[in-house]
């Protein structure tokens, strides 16, 4: 499969170009905080409940809140129907996503409580864990959960020996490498890093640098989406 033509990718993007991204803050009524994101072909809803009481109670921590994160794919979100419920992939993604968000949440403010984050992938087109983390981060801010920063995430990869930003499905499936990364752009702290495929050390350094740039652009969009919503409320 040929991925690069005249310096452009299969969806006509440049190597360092993100797909179109749209955040909608507070998309749900009942949740304490929520965010809907469209990221290229991905359609993802994130909701935050809490801080609230922990059930089952033996999970509670005396000195801080616990964070729970559920990444779940709708059965209709992909070409071939998925069996509903968690599989091994979603369990791993839930774990690394929780660990990506956890470091910025000020958990000490809410002993004996839980902050539950639910991420539903309604339509999937590569990079769902990253887009889910972006939405979850905005939903946490929407819920008023105290945080040290916003977490932003994107994937970097390699197709036709070119390091590219934000893979689409074909690039992810048939490309040479995929590397999701999440960070607090303000401090430069990386909170999620995974990689599979083939990267030389040189390409890896390029990829890391490109990932940083991608996350920075996304952080701007997240902040803008939050400002948009809450500026309106102030005026009323």
């Amino acid at each position: 499969m040929e991925f690069m033509k005249n310096g452009k990718r299969i969806d006509d993007r440049l190597p360092k170009e993100l797909r179109p991204i749209k955040f909608e803050v507070g998309a749900l009524q009942r949740a304490d905080g929520s965010c809907y994101v469209e990221h290229g072909g991905n359609k993802i809803m994130a909701a935050v409940y809490g801080p609230r009481a922990v059930h089952p109670r033996h999970l509670q921590q005396a000195n801080r809140a616990i964070i729970r994160y559920r990444y779940n794919m709708a059965s209709f979100s992909v070409e071939e129907r998925r069996r509903p419920g968690p599989d091994r992939r979603s369990i791993e993604i839930s774990k690394v996503s929780r660990e990506a968000i956890d470091p910025v949440i000020i958990k000490e403010f809410y002993p004996r409580s839980t902050i539950d984050i639910f991420v539903e992938i309604l339509q999937a087109d590569a990079g769902t864990r990253s887009a889910g983390i972006n939405a979850a981060s905005v939903a946490l801010a929407d819920a008023g959960v105290p945080m040290r920063g916003l977490i932003s995430s994107c994937a970097v990869g390699k197709v036709d020996d070119t390091v590219v930003l934000d893979l689409v499905k074909e690039e992810d499936n048939y490309g040479q490498a995929d590397m999701p990364i999440a960070m607090d752009v303000r401090t430069g702290e990386v909170t999620l890093l995974q990689m599979d495929g083939h990267l030389t050390l040189d390409e890896f350094e390029q990829a890391l640098e490109l990932g940083k740039i991608g996350c920075a652009s996304i952080a701007d969009m997240q902040r803008e989406a939050l400002i948009q919503k809450y500026r309106g409320e102030e005026d009323e």
């Binding site: 992939r89 369990i91 690394v96 995974q194 083939h198 050390l201």
Partner: protein, 261 residues
């Protein structure tokens, strides 16, 4: 994985780290002694016991003919599973694999798969079936750095595994088509000091670790950050370089630089 550690021990290890020292006297980039034995399990087509210090895993590889995935009829199948059996640690409990076991299994699987360690296209059979390779990691003693031990055990077991052709009427037995030699190297960052092969205490204290899997040419095949801590871009770059060269050294020591040792 939810092991507790005394504050005083934590402080001690941090104090040592400030002086670039470790509780067991190792250099920061030094592994505990690595021991690999293969072929202990006669019933398995391949097996390996790996010890890294007191950490011990047993990997069994079973190879059986079976149906390929419908979307890839011409490639063999790898299925990786990790059992954190309760005899290995007071913090392991019986039951279905938890997220730690699943993560471990999936990282080992990606290392084998993405490095191209096994040429899956050579696993087809004349009757439309393919070889299914089950890699089962049995953790026996958890004293830190299960990731590297499991990945090494998987590789060693695969290298020595055979396709049981005779038993299923496909001609004489043959070795698996091994093409790469992915080695996992895990690092933790304690107060700016990067330590390879973290002991249980070190990995309990460090809030996150980074596993880097690299192949014969030093190129990266997989990576996984695990834990709620954070790493800077510079730390990551340092760890990756260090891990890639350490992997070469481990491979040379154990396999003499080739995959068929």
């Amino acid at each position: 994985m939810n092991d507790v550690i005394a504050e005083i021990k934590r402080d001690y290890i941090y104090e040592l780290a400030k002086r670039s020292e470790r509780a067991d006297g190792r250099a920061l980039d030094e592994y505990r002694p690595i021991q690999v034995e293969v072929g202990l399990i006669g019933k398995a087509e391949g097996s390996a016991r790996v010890k890294i210090g007191n950490t011990q895993v047993l990997v069994g590889v079973k190879v059986q003919p079976g149906e390929p995935f419908p979307d890839s009829p011409d490639t063999g199948v790898i299925i990786t599973n990790v059992e954190l059996v309760p005899l290995a640690s007071p913090s392991f409990e019986p039951g279905p694999p938890d997220e730690n076991a699943i993560e471990l299994a999936r990282v080992v699987d990606r290392g084998v798969r993405e490095s191209g360690a096994i040429d899956l296209s050579e696993l087809t059979l004349p009757d439309g079936k393919v070889w299914i390779i089950f890699i089962d990691v049995h953790v026996l003693d958890h004293d830190g750095n299960l990731m590297d031990a499991a990945a090494l055990g998987a590789l060693a077991a695969l290298v020595h595994a055979t396709k049981p052709c005779e038993r299923y009427g496909y001609g004489p037995d043959a070795p698996l088509p091994i093409k790469e030699s992915p080695i996992a190297v895990t690092a933790v960052d304690l107060d700016g000091e990067i330590m390879l092969d973290p002991s249980l205490d070190e990995e309990t204290i460090a809030s996150s670790k980074l596993t880097v899997i690299s192949g014969l040419q030093g190129a990266l095949a997989g990576m996984q950050k695990s834990g709620t801590g954070t790493l800077s871009v510079e730390e990551i770059a340092r760890i990756v370089k260090l891990a890639s060269s350490k992997a070469m050294q481990i491979r040379d020591d154990l396999f003499g630089g080739s995959t068929d040792g």
